[in-house]
């Protein structure tokens, strides 16, 4: 299993005050999407929750980050991207033994397309656009998951 050394690429700026913000300070997030508009939106949404996501524009860049030792708790993965798409990238990451939470965020809402994507190894798959409710849900799931991992 590939483990990140300190994961310096995912260090966070902490905002003072809000509980919500402080409770998320140890979580690292990677946004993978080829549309700069979506990258900007997701980045902003996540920052509101006290997260400081790293952002890349295709699946290959995401995989490369893991190969050089970075690690992230949560990956938001677009489906349609050039170079390496979300399905391929997810399969690759799972083959590498990465068990971060990978969440598909796709603009293709067809059941069968979401199923395909799920089968590549996603934990969840949502239709774009990302909403604060979805993020809240994911952060809860992430906290549950981290609790489970700590109790092993």
């Amino acid at each position: 299993m590939v483990l990140g050394n300190g994961a310096s690429s995912s260090s966070l700026n902490m905002k003072s005050g809000e509980d919500k913000v402080n409770s998320n300070k140890n979580l690292s997030v990677l946004v993978v999407d080829d549309d700069p508009l979506i990258r900007m939106l997701h980045d902003m949404h996540l920052k509101k929750f006290g997260l400081n996501p790293q952002v890349v524009e295709d699946g290959k860049k995401a995989v490369d980050l893991f190969r050089i030792g970075a690690s992230f708790d949560l990956i938001l993965m677009d489906k349609e991207m050039p170079v390496m798409n979300g399905v391929e990238a997810t399969k690759e990451l799972r083959d590498m033994g990465i068990n971060s939470m990978i969440v598909g965020v796709t603009s293709r809402g067809l059941e069968i397309e979401m199923q395909d994507f799920m089968e590549s190894g996603l934990d969840f798959c949502f239709e774009k656009p990302l909403t604060p409710d979805m993020i809240t849900f994911l952060l809860n799931e992430l906290n549950k998951k981290n609790d489970d991992d700590n109790n092993d």
Binding site: P36, M44, P132
Partner: protein
């Protein structure tokens, strides 16, 4: 103070009318909510990105439809992207035209596609105009020392 109140009322009225006319939907309101003191230009930046995207995509579609042998897959790819961006920013009319546009691409109907291209160009221009007006109203309020009201 009176002047600022008047401007604020104008802003709220204008914003509400855009929603009522079905030009913008709740996604746009979400965007406005994401803006704060740390990112005071967020909505303007996202809108600018969107306008750039639109122009590029519309050009791509126009060029592809001009070809002797139209590559409908290529046109569809651009329409798909535009549909994604427009739904993320809350541009309902643009998104709706994209939905119809995709059907024509699938049916390889050039005439239908050209009509949709015309429509999407029209809706985009209309939206751009309206948003620029909205932003101007915001600027007026800020210049007069007031704050932008939050639209629920």
């Amino acid at each position: 103070m009176d002047v600022v109140n008047q401007m604020q009322r104008q802003f709220v009225d204008y914003s509400t009318s855009l929603h009522r006319e079905g030009i913008l939907d709740d996604q746009f309101t979400q965007l406005q909510k994401l803006q704060d003191e740390n990112s005071p230009d967020f909505v303007v930046e996202v809108a600018s990105l969107f306008f750039e995207d639109c122009e590029k995509l519309i050009n791509n579609m126009a060029r592809a439809l001009e070809q002797q042998g139209v590559d409908f897959k290529q046109v569809d790819a651009s329409v798909h992207q535009l549909k994604g961006s427009s739904s993320s920013i809350g541009a309902v009319q643009v998104k709706n035209v994209c939905i119809a546009f995709r059907s024509f691409c699938e049916a390889q109907n050039r005439e239908g596609c050209l009509r949709c291209l015309q429509q999407v160009t029209h809706e985009y221009s209309l939206l751009k105009n309206k948003l620029q007006t909205l932003f101007r109203l915001e600027q007026q309020i800020l210049a007069a020392g007031g704050s932008i009201p939050v639209i629920e």
